[in-house]
Amino acid sequence: MDKYSRVTIREFMSPSNIGHIDDPSGTGHITDNADAVELTLFISVDAGRITDAKYRIAGCTALIATLSVLSKELPGKTIDEALTLDMPYLSGLLEGLPESKWRCARYAVQALHLAIEDYQSKTS
């Protein structure tokens, strides 16, 4: 039976990078009432590399933990490198997220993609 790893619970109980960025380079916003999710991810980009990532979240444990590890992965990465971050990789960082929770956790990746699109639309 699937259950959360201790790493996931630890990450959820003390999540990193909660907050917002004033004047972000890109913002990704997701609302889903059926999943009771309200998520905004902010990124700062400088000279082609992500320098900071922060988020505000109301949602499930898996999503909070995934956002926490994602936000720690992003600084230093180029946009192309950031786009390679996917659920199998992020789940690995959490020592295996239960598969039944991937659907909700994936909002983290979707928010990142929206933030990157937002950044690219501003800079193009």
Partner: protein
């Protein structure tokens, strides 16, 4: 390690030490099959114990002993009564597929049995439930048809604890020539349950909800001829339910019934006070909190609250980390991340349903437990809300 605060007694309760003591001899020393009582004195001991347990349950629910049929628990009792009654009345009385009336917020043991009947060609009406979480007998009346053979409405809901007007609904059923069943799993030994006062023909009981063992339950059957057997086998239980008696389980169920009856008046008052205290303290510590379902017509051990702006899954997990055990929907659906069908049936939207938690008290709950929960939960809500 700090004591665990267990507020999930609607899911299950610990076996009472006195219950376990009565069960113990029936595993090794008194292991005989009760059906051998005619030629074996060991069998006679087991049979006597089973009959004593039957008498204790009968005394708790106000029935005759022979109307108490032992099963493996509430789910079996619910499956049996729906399938056994609808099939028998349809075949032997109507000579065509009969109609069942039940409610949208029933336990899945009822809902899924009803859907199974529907798949086989029987007709089912799921009556709607209002915001209060209480079925209106007039809605049941409107659902009745000439072919209605059974009405099944739970005595109290397992998630929100609301008590249903069973006696009134039973009158509606009988006025239309149908039989009446109630799932009393959440009420037996918690509030007075009397099969004659309720006017029911069938009633389901589960031992583990009142400090008895898991795997033991009862279906009260007023008239043995009203339904087909569900488990065909030997001649146990008047030929109604085959399978060698679960003697330790039945003995434990009987003892739990006896203790439940003795403790009921005191516990009803004590748990009502503790539950109301818990709500008052949580309301003082958390803003934007709403009780799901009617607060007055409710079993004393149940509190179900909606906390705006949080998802119940991380809250329950954070509570667990702090040593406080509670529930979101019912324990039977905890793996699903779906919103509770009970809460959506009383008009909650999906977001509201997912921000609700059930805190259920029991015989083991102390005032200290309530204080600790009321101290810890507001901080965790604040923690979750601070992320948003």
């Amino acid at each position: 390690m700090e004591r665990i605060v267990y507020l999930d007694n609607a899911a299950t309760t610990p076996v009472d030490a006195a219950v376990l003591d009565e069960m113990k001899p029936f595993f090794i020393e008194q292991f005989a099959n009760p059906m051998t009582y005619m030629h074996s004195s060991a069998g006679d001991v087991a049979q006597t114990a089973v009959e004593e347990a039957r008498g204790r349950v009968a005394s708790l629910i106000g029935s005759k002993p022979e109307q108490v049929i032992f099963t493996s628990g509430g789910t079996e009792s619910d499956n049996w009564v729906l399938k056994g009654t609808v099939e028998r009345a349809s075949r032997e009385r109507l000579h065509k597929p009969g109609h069942l009336v039940t409610a949208e917020f029933e336990h899945h043991a009822i809902l899924h049995s009803a859907l199974a009947l529907q798949r086989q060609g029987y007709e089912v009406t799921f009556v709607k439930v209002g915001h209060s979480g209480i079925v209106d007998p007039d809605d049941v009346r409107r659902a009745m048809r000439p072919t209605t053979v059974l009405v099944s409405i739970m005595h109290a809901n397992n998630e929100i604890g609301t008590i249903q007007p069973i006696a009134d609904i039973a009158r509606v059923a009988h006025d239309h020539g149908a039989l009446m069943h109630t799932d009393a799993v959440q009420t037996t030994a918690h509030i007075p349950v009397d099969v004659d006062a309720l006017g029911v023909d069938f009633l389901s009981v589960s031992a583990h909800k009142f400090n008895g063992p898991k795997g033991a339950g009862v279906l009260f059957i007023r008239d043995h001829a009203a339904l087909y057997p569900f488990i065909d086998g030997g001649g146990q239980e008047w030929g109604l339910r085959g399978s060698t008696h679960n003697v330790p389980g039945i003995v434990g169920l009987g003892k739990a019934a006896q203790l439940g009856k003795e403790r009921l008046p005191g516990e009803l008052e004590r748990l009502t006070t503790l539950r109301n205290m818990l709500l008052d303290k949580l309301s003082a510590g958390i803003d934007r909190i709403v009780v799901n379902g009617d607060m007055k017509q409710r079993v004393p051990q149940n509190l179900n609250i909606r906390i705006e702006g949080i998802d119940n899954e991380p809250l329950l997990l954070a509570m667990n980390e702090a040593g406080i055990i509670a529930a979101g929907g019912s324990a039977c659906n905890a793996e699903e991340t779906l919103a509770s069908h009970v809460l959506t049936s009383i008009g909650c939207d999906l977001k509201e349903a997912k921000s609700s938690i059930r805190l259920s008290l029991g015989y083991v709950t102390t005032e200290k437990d309530v204080d600790r929960a009321a101290d810890v939960i507001p901080g965790l809500v604040k923690f979750l809300r601070s992320m948003a």
